[in-house]
Each structure stands twice: as C-alpha cells, then as structure tokens.
C-alpha cells in the first residue's frame, strides 16, 4: 500500500528537527499509528478510505495528492493524513487480516468511495467529504483550502469547548448558550450531544438554534400530512405558523416550513393564501429541491382549487393575466340540462376542488351545446383556463370547443377554437377583449354533450363605468 514506515520515519525525523512545537509533521501514516499519534499530540487527523485496487481514480487521487509530498507540504499544520484501503473480492480470511490493521475504526458506513473523514484527537468524527463534493475538491488548491478551513474550525471548536467549560464553572448560562450556538454553527458535522447541552443551557431556545438543528425536514412534512389526514387541521395550522417565525432556518428549511403552511391552509380550504405560501417556498429556496417540490405540490392542491392562475409547468406561469374574473362573482346558464347534471356541483366550475364526478355541469346532446358565463360587468378578458371532463373517451366530445364573447349576450364574437380534445386548455389572448358574457360552446357537426370540469377566466374588471346595457 503506502511506503509508510520509511516515509513516516523520514518525515518525523526531518520535521522534528525543523519544526518547533506545537507544529506537528504533516505525514501519511498507517491508520492505527495515526490514531495513537493524534491522541498523543492532540492534533486532528484526516482519514482517506479508498478502494484504489478496484477504483483507478482513487489511486490517482493518492498519487497526486494524498501521498504526494508537494501537496502535503501545502497543508495546514496541525493535521495528520492517513488512509485505509478497502479491497473487493476478498476471502473472509483476507478481509479479517486487513481489518486487523484498523481495529479501532468505528465509522465504517461509507456511502461512496473514496471518502475523507476528519477526526479530532479524541476520535470524534467532525467532517466527512465524499461523492460529488469530494470529486469537486480533488485538486491541490481546493482540497488544501477545505482542509485548512476544517482544521481552523476544529481549532475554533476546541477553544469554544474550553470556554464553555469555564462558563459552566462560572454558572454563566447565557454565555454557555451563546458559545454552544457558536460551536453548532461551525461548518462541521452536526453533534447531537451539543444540541442536548444547548437544550439545557437555553431551554426556551431563544436563539432558534435548537429548532433549526432538530427540524426534521421531510419527516416534518410527513408529520403535517399525518395531522391533516387525522383531521387535525387546527393543530397543523398552529404548528406550521410557529416555524415560519424562526429566523435561523436555512433556505431549505424555510421552504419546507412555507410548504407545510401551504398544506395546512389548503386543508383548511384557504386556497389562495395556501398557494401564496407554496410560492413563497419556491421564492425562498429558488434553486433547491424543496422549494421546487413544494411549488409543484402546491400547484395541485392549492393553485388548481384557488383558480389563481396557470400552473408552474405552463408557459404562461407568472405572466400578467390579471385577476380571476369568474371565481367570486360569475354565474352561468346552460343551453340544456342533462339528467346527469348535478346542480350541487355547479359551484365547482369556478371555485374550489373539482367535482368528484369529473364534470361540473352536463348539457344534453345537442347541436351547439353551450354554457354562457355572465361576468356581471364588462371586463377586460386576458386569458382562460378550461378543464375538460375526465375520462379519455368522453373527453373527445370537447374536440370542437369554442370561446366567444359578447357585451349583450346577443352578438357574439368568436375568439378561439380547440384543435383537438385534451385534458385542459391554456389560452392567453394576444389582444385583450372587453366583454361581459363569455360563451363556451361546441361546434360539432352532430349533436353532442358539453361537460367541463372547470373554467377560469382572467383579466381586469372595468369597475369605473356602469356597464350593464
């Protein structure tokens, strides 16, 4: 493996002659020897766990960096470098023989090779580099910088821990809490013990650090889902509100907190504020996975029932379409009423969740079957969103759908015609139209039913003038 012994001896001799304490040799040594030296000298050590015999890039990493004197010279003192080689295709005996060389190594769960674990002299694992993060920093400058920062953080940690001991002796709980917060904020692996100590020093969590450190991420979302399913919506509303006030949350946590809030609000049928919360989740964490997931989920559970605009996957998302003109004020009449029509489902055409039957209204099969929507006053129509009835076969009935507008419900101006049947249509008008009535009709050559799940019309109200003819 490594030409360790001779290198160690040469390095130790050379450096011990040249250096003065507390500087220690920056050498590559065998694992157990490194652990012993780390304890004796009270310096951290960086352990490379690699599979150089089966992963050629790891060998390159060792040759170019870990075992390269040019690189190790640039490293910050005090730090020891050591390594463990995990082989593949070994017999049980071979594996046991190898394992005898690193008996004291405890953190053996390696998610991806190679991996660097950085330990304090007391054996606490303080930093882990693996996967893409390690590959990105596998240049001499980047790796040196990271190791330097980590060593500095470890030194700082040691200093803070000493101050914490003193604060405890002095029974200065406020200082102790402040110092613990500083340790927790260092860019090192999280430490459950420190959180427990902080809970004692700052039981009210005045810094918000405990909430931040114990925030359960997506498990928290599962918890909120559980509350909603158990019909404990008031509790969900209360819990989600509390988290939004935590200023220590990072963007990912905040996105989840906003998303959880959106879920609770949607469960309470407050769809517009719910959608706003989901949008806020995305705005808080614009490039992170949580913000995006919350936006996508919010589009389904809040945006659609809120009827507030086009969904995130639409080309018209976040474009100016004005307000919803139908949700709160509009009414409609049908050209005919089929026995399948259920008036109780009519409100779902413009607001809230869609009807469970898959359609909000149902005309008879007739020529030019139509629904006429009365916006109650003349408005500037900018866009429309039409949801077809569910069911692949019956959706075909809407293949000839048209939209016409009128100021008097007598003279109609055709604006748009569908090319084919589809799940839903998103229509943004190239030029806006002033209208009070909107007719959605079929233009089929033979009699046909008209049945839609939802209609949302968007634009501006022209409230300043009396519009009713």
């Amino acid at each position: 493996m490594f030409r360790i012994i001779s290198y160690l001896l040469i390095s130790v001799l050379t450096l011990s002659a040249e250096s003065t304490k507390p500087l220690v040799p920056k050498v590559v040594i065998e694992y157990e020897a490194a652990v012993t030296m780390s304890k004796q000298e009270k310096v951290p050590y960086a352990l490379l766990i690699h599979g150089s015999s089966w992963h050629p890039a790891s060998q390159k990493f060792i040759d170019k960096l870990w075992q390269n004197q040019e690189f190790t010279k640039t490293l910050p003192a005090p730090l020891l470098l050591t390594a463990i080689h995990i082989k593949q295709h070994q017999t049980k005996e071979q594996r046991e023989a190898d394992e005898a060389n690193y008996k004291s190594w405890k953190n053996r769960k390696i998610s991806s090779f190679p991996c660097i674990q950085i330990y304090n002299h007391d054996g606490t694992l303080l930093k882990t580099y693996t996967g893409s993060e390690l590959r990105k920093i596998s240049t001499d400058t980047a790796l040196t910088a990271h190791l330097k920062n980590t060593v500095e953080a470890i030194i700082k940690r040691e200093q803070l821990l000493q101050q914490i001991t003193k604060a405890r002796t002095d029974k200065d709980q406020k200082l102790e809490a402040s110092l613990l917060t500083q340790v927790i904020q260092l860019s090192l692996n999280s430490d459950k013990n420190l959180i427990e100590q902080l809970k004692k020093a700052d039981p009210k969590d005045s810094s918000g650090q405990i909430a931040k450190a114990t925030f359960r991420g997506w498990s928290y979302i599962r918890h909120i889902t559980g509350l909603i399913k158990a019909k404990k919506v008031p509790q969900a509303l209360e819990e989600t509100k509390a988290h939004l006030t935590n200023s220590t949350f990072d963007n990912n946590q905040l996105a989840l907190a906003y998303g959880a809030r959106g879920m609770a609000l949607a469960a309470n049928n407050d769809f517009v504020p719910a959608w706003n919360a989901f949008k806020q989740a995305k705005a808080t964490d614009p490039n992170g996975p949580s913000g995006e997931a919350m936006l996508q989920h919010g589009a389904r559970i809040a945006l659609t029932p809120s009827r507030a605009g086009f969904p995130p996957n639409s080309e018209f998302f976040n474009t100016d379409i004005g307000d919803n003109l139908t949700r709160d004020n509009a009414s409609f009449t049908l050209s005919s009423v089929d026995p399948s029509d259920n008036p109780d489902h009519h409100p779902s055409l413009f607001s809230g969740n869609f009807a469970p039957t898959g359609f909000a209204f149902h005309t008879k099969a007739e020529k030019e079957a139509a629904i006429i929507i009365d916006l109650k006053k003349v408005c500037t129509l900018k866009a429309a969103q039409i949801y077809n009835r569910t069911g692949r076969r019956v959706q075909q009935r809407a293949a000839t759908l048209t939209i016409s507008t009128s100021l008097d419900a007598k003279t109609w101006n055709k604006l748009w015609q569908a090319d084919k049947a589809q799940d839903d249509w998103e229509i943004k008008l190239a030029t806006t139209v002033s209208t009070r009535y909107v007719k959605i009709a079929l233009n089929s050559p033979s009699p046909e039913h008209l049945h839609l799940r939802g209609v949302n019309l968007f634009g501006e109200t022209q409230a300043s003038k009396p519009q009713i003819p």
């Binding site: 593949q88 295709h89 996967g131 399913k229």
Partner: protein, 678 residues
C-alpha cells in the same frame, strides 16, 4: 436509381461470396474465417449503410475477425440490420474504438442491445460515450476492463425503470454510490422504503414522484431522497452497479421486485430477492433465473463460445448446401461440446425440421438433451424436450402407454439436482402427468417412481408430494393408497402412517431446504409436520409490524444431532412453536426471513433449562445472509428474551443468533417482527 445501384452492388457481392463458398463446398468445407466473414457481410448488406464512411467501417469490421466474433457470438443477435446501423453510428462518432479493445467491446454491446431496448443511434452513442469517458477517467470499477461483450450487454441495456438509465442518473450514481462490487447488493437501501411520499400519495398512483420530478437533476437522486418500494429500490441498486461498470439486472418476483449483480467474474448474486421465481428484465432466450445462469455459463469461456459459433455457422452452411447429414453431425458436435449454449439446441431443432429428419435423429437429439443438458438445467432441457422433441418421439396411441411412460421417466432419471438454478419443477411434473393421458393408476405409479428416483437426494421430493396431493384432490382412498406405497419406499418408515412418512422426510428435507434457502419446500413440509407435535403454550408480546420470520426458512449447524429433531424446526419461526438444539461451536441458529423488512424486535423463548448457555451470545442481522452485523448481545441468562430493535433502523433479510462460547443453544421460539419491505 440509387436503390437500383445499391441492389446491384449487394447482389454482386453476394454472388461472389456464394461462388467462393460454393467452390469451397465442392472441394472442402469453408473455413470458419470465411464463414463468419460471409455472415457479417450479409449483416452489413442488410443494414444498407449510407455515407462516405460506410466503406471504411465495413473494411474495419471485416478486417477484424475478433470483432466479428464479438458481434456474432456474444449471445443472440436480434434485428441485425439495426445492430449494424448502430455500430456504424458508434464507429462514426468514435472511429478510434476500432483499435481499442475495451471500447470496441462496449460499442458492440451497445449495438447489440439497441434493437432490444429501442435505443436510437444517438442514445447508444450517449451510453457508449459515458462508459468510454468514465473508464478513461478511472471512474469505473476495474472489473470493467475484463468484461466480455456478453457481460457488457447488461451495462448497455440498463435497468427496467428507464429514468434511471439517463446519463444524469448514471453520473449521480457514479459519484454517490461508488462501492466494491459485492456491496452493490445492498445499494437498494440507499433509498428508504416508503409506500407513501411525504404528501401521503401512494407509490401505486401517478402522484408519488410527480412533485419531485423537477427537484433534482436526475431520477436516481430523486429516488434516494424521496424513497420508494421494492421496484424503485431494486432499480436503484442495479442502476448503481451499472453506472460504475458492474453488470446488473432487475428481476420480477411474485409480488416483488429484486435485482442481481455480477459481483465477481461470472458470479451473479441475487439481491433483495425473496423467491427463486425470478424473471430477469434483461434476458436472453428466456427470462427465468435458470435461463440467465445457463446463458452466463455459455459465455464463461470466450474461446468455446467462438468455437460454438463457428460450428453453428458451418452447420447452417452445410444445411444451405443441402448437406443435411453433415449439418446434423456438425451441430451435434456443437451441442455436445457447449451444451450450455441454447443456440446450439435451437439450431439442432431447426436443422432436423428443415432436413425432414427421421425418428432416430430426433431420438439422438433427445438422448443428447437428457445426457448433457438435463444435468446443467432440467428446466431448459424440459423446455426443449417438451416443445420440440416430445411431439416427434412421444407416441400418442393407447397401445404405446408403456413406451410413453418410459420416455417420460427418462427425463426424471436425467436430473439429479436443480442444475444452474432452481426452476418450476412442479410445472414439469404437471405437464408429464398430463402426457400420461388421464390414467390415474399410471399417474400414481409414475409419481411413486419419480419419488423413488429422487428420494435419496430429497431435493425434488417435497415438490413431488405437493404436486401429487394436489393431483389426487379429495379422493381419500387414492390418497391413502399412494401414501401407503410411498411409506414403503422410505427406509426408516414402519408403516403407512402419513405423519410418520412426513416426519421421516422432514428430518432430511427441512435442513436441506434451509441450507438452500428453499422457502417453498421448507414451508410445505414444515406445515405438514406441525400436525404431529403440539403448539407452544408460551405467550410472548409481539412487536409492531408483522411476524417477518413466518414463511421463511430456519437452520442450524449440525441438524439432526442426538438432541435435535429437524422435523420441528419449522415451528420455531412460526406462531405454532417448535424446537431445535445445536451441538457444535460456534452454535448458530439462522432465519431466512419470510419477508424482507425493517426490524422492530425479536422474541426468543429458550428450552426450559441451561439458560446460562445464552450468556454473551449475539443476535446478528444481514441483508444478504453473508455479511452480518451485531444487533444485540445477550448479557443475561433467562428463559425468554424480548429485544426491541425499533430504534436501530435495521433492514434485514436474515437474522441469526451466534454463540461463540458454547456448542449448545436451544429455543422453542425465534420470532422476528418488523415492517415488511417487499
């Protein structure tokens, strides 16, 4: 005009080749070099390649005999014209591959898989480039260098869930799940087993991954973060191996999805597998595990695979040249030399049909299958025999009942074990019973004969018993008669009592079944034996979840020692209760769980005495039955143990107790609870 010119060009080349080969047949058989070149030339012609580089590509391919063999002898070739068109596209994208053996093999594998997976040339180029570049950068497992084209086909094919085959997903897994080859069998657990996503949507609906589809740049990262059930987890595990240059494939099992990894040269290890009834999603000729293992075996020696291909091409040539006798001799040589290559058997059948072979030729094929294919795989042998040979050799008339019986029995005599992999032996038995034309006496005699044939090894006997009992149905008189006759064939039995027959058989069958991980035999015989000993009265407090141990297998070292009755082993892991007693150091008692799961706890009730023997024993768990982790140490000596494992986050398919300090441990109950994860 262009087509016409091309037609003339192809015809001219074919005429010349035909002329050369015909001349050679007149004098002597064409050489294998000539035959493979002619075969590849035909493939090239069928591809109708266009572009200035086409001639250069053809020259490169036709000048390399090794490349031609890689193309023709690395498993079945489907849609050769698309294979060639893809290979041409790959070569145009990277002409240097012709001079780099590893890249050439990988490109050939990508071309062979293109028509099977519906890959466009662009997709094939993308996949090939991934492996080429990653290998050059040293970022693939060193196993990659030594893979055959056949093995590379699993890399080229990818996994069942297409989104995990994207370059972005592979890139992610190359970075984040880079492991020693044998560790990929545990890679499925990188993703948590979650039936519902955080929003409560079930994985069985369309909404489970939908909110997350844009959250990460690739499916692998999404699955790792969101979770999934056996399908997503197994696909993740297999895809991780593939992304690192280690062949793997996903497999369907009854109500479950598993995967397999080639952890070492030609050593395929099932992972997250619960049953032997596996159907591979990357498969050749047939999808079962037996087919897979047979195909692997046929490619173990590249020289033999090439030689086999040479013989097939010669036999085909001889058949085309109306030399049927020579063709039959040549293909017989091929199947006897490399019986694991299914193409040798398929071509044997094709030649016999094409040459309107007489009965004795079919009988020769039948005898060859019994002699050299059955020992490798009874499954594939019976597939061949029942589909292609029985219609020719099995007489149908009533007068030939004896002859028919003898022929059917000859198959049973040709198999002694499972061969390359466990298969549906019961389906074979049912088929054979059917071919006895509904004569109950003959069926019973045949099953008794079959039982006697396999009694010594006891591998097939549980299946024979189960099939025959089902076949007899509710006819108690017939059943009694059958059992009585069966009992006589069991050496230690003193009479026709069914429970004695079963107990005698169980003592041998249960330990063997446990050793092989054969859950169905263990369970079938175990349940029958439970009727002959009382259920436990000891009450234990169950842990959350289900009894994961139920439905599994249980075994100890040295079963059947002077203190142990293996006929009672089944009850130990079931609510019924049973007992066992080890007699060798280290004492071990091992459960292969009926269901893979996240463990919540273990209940153990020991025999009422010598409690000290459990002191310092260790409870261990394992995902694969090979690598074990400590879960609990028994510090106290007592009658029963209630071990809570809920906080330990253990996923396991196996649980055992190992006592390094004593040769004897003895339980009545060994119950493992948890949340099923399959």
């Amino acid at each position: 005009m262009k087509q016409s010119h091309q037609y003339h060009s192809i015809s001219f080349r074919k005429i010349i080749l035909f002329f050369i080969i015909s001349l050679s047949t007149l004098s002597a058989a064409p050489s294998s070099t000539e035959l493979i070149k002619a075969h590849v030339t035909t493939m090239l012609d069928s591809a109708e390649l266009e572009g200035d580089a086409a001639e250069k590509f053809k020259t490169a391919l036709l000048n390399s005999q090794e490349w031609q063999h890689q193309l023709c002898d690395s498993g079945p070739v489907q849609k050769p014209e698309i294979v060639i068109q893809t290979l041409y596209a790959l070569w145009k994208a990277d002409p240097a591959l012709a001079s780099n053996p590893i890249d050439q093999e990988m490109a050939t594998a990508c071309a062979l898989e293109a028509p099977r997976k519906g890959h466009t040339p662009e997709q094939s180029i993308e996949r090939y480039t991934y492996f080429r570049d990653k290998w050059q950068a040293g970022l693939l497992n060193t196993m990659y260098a030594d893979l055959s084209v056949f093995q590379r086909r699993y890399l080229a094919s990818g996994v069942q869930h297409g989104h995990l085959n994207s370059i972005e997903s592979m890139q992610y897994q190359n970075e984040e799940v880079c492991l020693p080859a044998e560790k990929y069998t545990g890679a499925c657990w990188y993703a948590a087993y979650q039936l519902h996503n955080p929003f409560g949507d079930s994985i069985h609906g369309p909404l489970y991954y939908r909110p997350f589809s844009q959250s990460w740049g690739n499916a692998a990262e999404m699955i790792r973060n969101v979770g999934g059930v056996c399908g997503s987890l197994s696909n993740f595990g297999a895809a991780a191996a593939i992304a690192n240059g280690v062949p793997a494939a996903t497999m369907g099992e009854p109500g479950h999805c598993a995967y397999t990894v080639m952890i070492n040269q030609n050593k395929w290890q099932p992972a997250y597998s619960l049953s032997w009834k596996r159907g591979l999603h990357t498969s050749y000729h047939g999808s079962t595990w037996g087919w897979h293992m047979l195909n692997v075996k046929s490619q173990e020696s590249w020289d033999k695979a090439k030689q086999s291909g040479n013989l097939r091409r010669l036999a085909q040539h001889q058949l085309n040249a109306k030399q049927a006798e020579n063709a039959r001799i040549t293909i017989r040589k091929a199947r006897l030399e490399l019986p694991s290559d299914w193409q040798n058997w398929q071509l044997s059948v094709d030649i016999l049909i094409a040459s309107e072979a007489i009965d004795s030729h079919w009988e020769t094929l039948h005898q060859d299958a019994l002699k050299v294919l059955s020992p490798l795989s009874g499954e594939i042998s019976y597939h061949l025999i029942s589909k292609s040979i029985y219609p020719k050799v099995l007489p149908k008339d009533k007068e030939s009942a004896k002859q028919r019986y003898k022929i059917l029995k000859s198959f049973q005599q040709s198999i002694t074990d499972w061969g390359v992999g466990r298969w549906d032996y019961q389906a074979t038995l049912r088929d054979q019973i059917k071919r006895l034309n509904g004569n109950a006496d003959q069926q019973d005699k045949f099953m008794l004969d079959t039982f006697a044939t396999h009694a010594e090894k006891n591998i097939f006997t549980p299946a024979i018993l189960e099939t025959q009992l089902a076949n007899i149905g509710k006819d108690e008189t017939r059943k009694q008669r059958f059992i009585a006759t069966l009992a006589k064939s069991l050496s230690n039995s003193k009479g026709g009592d069914f429970s004695k027959v079963i107990n005698t058989m169980a003592a041998k069958v249960l330990p063997d079944a446990a050793k092989r991980g054969d859950k169905s035999s263990f369970q079938f015989i175990g349940k029958l034996t439970a009727q002959s000993y009382p259920a436990t009265t000891f009450k234990t407090e169950p842990f959350p979840g289900i009894l994961l141990s139920s439905g599994g297998t249980f075994g100890i070292q040295k079963p059947g020692n002077r203190y142990d009755n293996p006929a009672r082993h089944w009850g130990v892991i079931e609510p019924h209760g049973g007992d066992f007693h080890t007699a060798t150091k280290p004492a071990t008692a091992t459960i292969q769980l009926g269901n893979f799961g996240k463990l919540s706890g273990v209940n153990i009730v020991t025999r009422n005495g010598n409690f000290h023997r459990m002191k310092n024993a260790i409870l261990q768990t394992s995902e694969d039955g090979k690598t074990w982790s400590d879960a609990h140490t028994f510090t106290k000596a007592k009658r029963s143990y209630h071990i809570d494992l809920s906080s330990k986050n253990i996923n396991a398919g196996y649980v055992r107790v190992i006592q390094n300090n004593d040769s004897s441990i003895h339980f009545h109950l060994f119950h493992v609870y948890g949340k099923k994860q399959n």
